[in-house]
Amino acid sequence: MTAIKTEHIDVLVIGGGPAGMAAAIAARLAGARHVAIVERGGYLGGILNQCIHNGFGLELLKKDLTGPEYAQHYIDQVKRLKITVMLNTMAIDITKDREVTLSNSKDGLIRIKAGAIVLAMGCRERTAGMLSISGTRPAGIYTAGVAQTLINLKNLMVGKRVVILGSGDIGLIMARRLTLEGAKVISVVEKSPYPGGLLRNVTQCLEDFDIPLILSHTIIEVEGRDRLESVTLARVDRHGNPLKSRRKKIKCDTLLISAGLIPENELSKKAGVRIDKKTGGPIVDEEYHTSVPGIFACGNVVSVHDIVDWASMDAEIAGASASLYSSKPWHRHHALEIELDNEISYCVPQILRGSRDTEVSIRVKRPIEKVFVGVRRDTMLSRSAYHEILIPSEALRVPIKAGAVEGAENLSIFIEKSSSIKREHK
């Protein structure tokens, strides 16, 4: 047995999806000489390849692209900038000293010492097993993303009469896709009193095809021996608990689950990266620097983004910062943890150091109307903006200047009903 040779790479990016590619490109453009992307799958672009619908790139590229087209835009740059791409390669271990162990069937084990690492592993879907649905375990139950892979990439249809549980964006997109492919989507069932996906997807995927969206309901039981035969629909109370009365059986052969995404952080944890319990991803500062020096993170591994453009934008910052770190590591001092209003479930970045102007992404816990969202530095109100409505499915990006962080004792983001502010002024 020969010893494994250790190779040095300036910036190693783990994950070849939209965030990984944008980070690698930014790292290269910022001066890093040897940048490499490690990708578990057989091609770059990740989940974009199965997202054949349009609406990607409107914010960042000012073009209305489909997923594969958006991916191609970045793949072309990866090629042009001569970034090393290792496909069908799995990162199996990372240490806090930035030693990474990779594995593939051609080279076996590869060890890399990286000047900086960018984590861009994305997220995975919440599965049927993670929801409390009782009953048998028949065929015909898929997560929405798996159904999307089967239909859009493998040419395999999943069923004829479909119920979708959860109104996340992938579920809504799949409701339309299945309908266009000739299946009957009976209904989309959502436990919350409001939809989980973007409003535009409710409109163009459900309303366009007269697919009913049943709010404040869930599926409590599945039935069927070999194949799914029916699901039981139940109304839920305010706390999300199914009610005993008001249950209904729906005959169907397929159930899709679109009940949220979870950042995939097994590797991050191996490196000792601190994880935010709310987002399920690493705690980062405005450079997308994690708690471990030299390890950066971006995209859906940090927190689930509503649209890919924002994942790419964050990734560009992470990549450029990683490039800088690999050539000249810096020591970090001053760090301010952003304090949040009770109405806000989380924010990213969670920590600010005042190193650059930034946009902090916040998500509210429930829909709230007619509010001011502002930033308070110590006791001083530094900025506030009016919003007609804020909903949990659509994150808000709050700009914060580097100057607002410098020398501050604490920094908080607050939400105030517009009526209460008016009263204050009187």
Binding site: N49, I52, H53, N54, G55, L58, E59, D64, T66, G67, P68, E69, Q72, I151, N152, L153, K154, N155, T179, L180, E181, G182, L198, L199, R200, V202, T203, Q204, D208, D306, I307, D309, E388, E394
Partner: protein, 124 residues
């Protein structure tokens, strides 16, 4: 008549209120840009959408190629167009941007590949 619309042109998703009579708009408000007004007008007259779907591929490294219409087509024709494309096969290699079918939906829209599909290499 009145209709509340969610503009789907961009992810901002503006709530646009349209008042109209006999498919003609009398007032449009709530949009944050001119695209919202154009969207509302088209929604009242004849809703149009970019159609995205897949076509079967022969001899490619993947069995399907993702495609889109090069311009929005009438919403009511989407199902019919997808059904007709079920009988279409295209040969690899396919380059992103290739026109794979012409004049679908009777509106002169073409079907364009949104991904490149290289040829499958023959096993030696």
């Amino acid at each position: 008549m009145k209709r509340d619309l969610i503009c789907t042109i961009c992810p901002l998703g503006c709530k646009v209120m349209a008042t109209y009579a006999h498919k003609k708009a009398t007032a449009i408000c709530g949009n944050r840009c001119p695209k919202g007004e154009a969207y509302a007008l088209s929604e009242i007259r004849n809703p149009r959408r970019i159609l995205t779907t897949t076509i079967k591929v022969e001899g490619g490294i993947f069995p399907l190629v993702s495609v889109r219409t090069n311009r929005p087509i009438s919403r009511d024709s989407m199902r019919r167009v997808v059904k007709n494309l079920h009988n279409t096969f295209v040969k690899a290699p396919i380059e992103i941007g290739d026109r794979l079918a012409h004049g679908v939906s009777g509106s002169g829209s073409d079907i364009v590949a949104t991904r490149s599909i290289p040829k499958k290499k023959a096993k030696p």
